[in-house]
């Protein structure tokens, strides 16, 4: 196993408010790390720090063998090897789905239009969006938009995919179609760090689960252990609330 991402003692504050403290995390290639925890526990902030959308206040992030928390690092170069999918899709409303997917490959990765479109069409077809390529995002359903956003992130062939509660804004009936894709990606060996509220999904797909509470990773382990026999009382309480068949609640 090669270590793809190593986070040590990460700290992030907004003014006096400490959002992340002493966060340490190791992600090996082909790992699927699920971040769980209540809203405001720091899951999204952690992902934004990993993608360098936020500057960290302390700690070190090493990605692919290089420290990326160094201010001299080329953020664009780092991001070009990392994909991030947002909770609210954040597709570009003025571009078609296809143009959304080819923008970064063409402008950042230097692919020709034909190459970029071929790759995008292939992925769109794979995710059941072949018919939607020429449409603008607002014409699509929420589930289709989120799948398109996933394709947009995958079109740059990232080494690491960050997913920020990508099903949180969807109707329950649309959640399944998006999760099915993430499941496929995990099966195909994509390295992912994802924040999620879908516990059943996390239990199935994750290679490890981190429970965040108040900006700290309170507990960290394989899903079988976290979901059935958590060490911390707080984890137990959280899981009891979100899982009908959580620990001590058969």
């Amino acid at each position: 196993m090669t270590t793809l991402l190593e986070v040590s003692d990460l700290r992030k504050t907004y003014g006096d408010r400490v959002v992340l403290a002493d966060v340490s995390l190791t992600v090996d290639a082909h790992d699927v790390v699920c971040l769980i925890g209540s809203s405001g526990s720091g899951k999204s902030t952690l992902l934004r720090c990993l993608n360098l959308l936020e500057d960290v206040d302390d700690g070190v992030i090493v990605f692919d063998g290089r420290e990326i928390s160094d201010p001299r690092v080329d953020r664009r170069e780092v991001r070009s090897r990392m994909g991030l999918v947002f909770q609210a899709y954040n597709l570009f409303p003025h571009l078609t789905v296809l143009d959304n997917c080819t923008l970064a490959p063409r402008r950042v990765h230097g692919l020709s239009r034909a190459e970029a479109e071929e790759r995008a069409r292939g992925l769109l077809a794979q995710f059941g969006l072949a018919d939607q390529a020429a449409k603008h995002p607002d014409r699509l359903s929420g589930g289709q938009q989120q799948r398109a956003a996933l394709v947009r992130a995958l079109c740059t062939e990232p080494r690491l995919l960050l997913l920020d509660e990508i099903t949180a804004a969807l109707d329950p009936e649309l959640v399944g179609e998006v999760l099915a894709i993430v499941r496929d990606l995990a099966a195909a060996g994509t390295t992912m760090v994802l924040a999620t509220h879908e516990m059943a999904f996390a239990r199935d797909v994750a290679t490890s689960v981190c429970f965040l509470e108040g900006g700290r990773i309170l507990e960290h382990g394989p899903p079988e252990q976290i979901f059935t026999d958590p060490r911390e009382e707080r984890t137990r309480q959280f899981l009891r609330r979100v899982l009908p068949d959580g620990p001590e609640n058969p």
Binding site: R48, N51, L53, R75, R76, E77, V78, R79, S80, M82, G83, L84, F86, A88, N90, L91, F92, P93, H94, L95, L103, A104, R107, V108, H136, D138, R139, R152, A153, T156
Partner: protein
């Protein structure tokens, strides 16, 4: 049930009769109110003690006809000013707005210049700018630029409106949600690419109605060049009026300007409505 099999119910037919009666009633009331108000205004003005002399000085058909050709020639100057200034203002405004958004430390002087420019030129009355540019600039004796009043009046209008339009563009750029920028950055787009492919295309769509509003205003302000003696429609009308002691040509010029600005104003309304409709229909194109 098929569509052919459907017959409106008695209740529906009665509702339709009621709706049609309501419409007729509204139409009658609206027409009546219009007649009363406008007839009242007309009678009120016509019966005022000064009306005969006002009628003679401002609404004289003979003078209107006599002044018409020179006004038409002058108005062509206004149209030229407007048509040349408009694209230049768009380019200048967008450039200044983008300069204010620049983050690179190398561009700090450009950013400061952009701020100083908008503050200065938005603060000075356009009339004053026209006078200062048209009379001041030629005295510099610059080589290689025209020294005509027309040219420097044009420069004054472009400078003044460029500052307004820059602010319109800036508000449009700032109205694009930060998540769009984050999204572009997450895809590793550079700042310039983010602006060019993501922010500016969305911003421009949003600012079209306020931009057209500024252009309606610009159309009228082309008349300010009369202050420095550019032979535009207003100057032509004043010239005629001073010579013949009749101000009818000024009213004629007013009609010219209205005829030019009303279509643009309607277009502004229409674009604004269309934007709202599309936004609510969830289809932004």
């Amino acid at each position: 049930m098929t569509a052919e099999g459907w017959q409106p119910s008695d209740r529906e037919l009665e509702r339709r009769r009621l709706r049609s009666r309501e419409r007729t009633r509204s139409l009658v009331i609206a027409s009546g109110a219009m007649v009363v108000v406008f007839a009242g205004l007309t009678v009120g003005i016509a019966r005022s003690p000064g009306w005969p002399s006002v009628h003679e000085t401002f609404f004289n058909w003979e003078h209107a006809k006599a002044a018409f050709p020179s006004i038409l020639d002058g108005f062509w100057i206004n149209v030229q000013l407007f048509l040349i200034a408009e694209p230049l203002i768009l380019v200048l405004g967008l450039a200044v707005a983008l300069a204010r958004q620049a983050r690179s430390p190398w561009l700090a002087p450009v950013r400061v210049l952009a701020v100083v420019y908008t503050d200065l030129f938005r603060g000075i009355p356009t009339l004053l700018l026209v006078i200062l540019f048209a009379f001041g600039m030629p005295s510099l004796g610059l080589e290689g630029v025209p020294n005509s009043l027309f040219f420097w009046s044009l420069v004054a209008l472009v400078s003044s409106y460029g500052a307004y339009v820059a602010e319109v563009f800036r508000s449009g750029i700032e109205s694009v949600h930060p998540s769009q920028v984050a999204s572009a950055e997450a895809l590793a787009l550079s700042r310039t690419q983010t602006m060019r492919y993501v922010v500016v295309p969305q911003a421009v769509r949003r600012v079209v109605p306020p931009l057209l509003n500024d252009f309606v205003s610009l159309q009228k302000d082309t008349a300010l060049v009369a202050a420095v003696g550019v032979f535009d429609a207003v100057f032509a009308a004043q010239d005629y009026g001073n010579f013949n002691f009749n101000y009818t040509p000024l009213v004629v010029v007013a009609i010219f300007f209205v005829a030019m600005t009303v279509p643009l104003a309607r277009l502004t309304d229409w674009l604004g409505r269309r934007y709202v409709q599309r936004a609510f229909a969830g289809a932004v194109r």
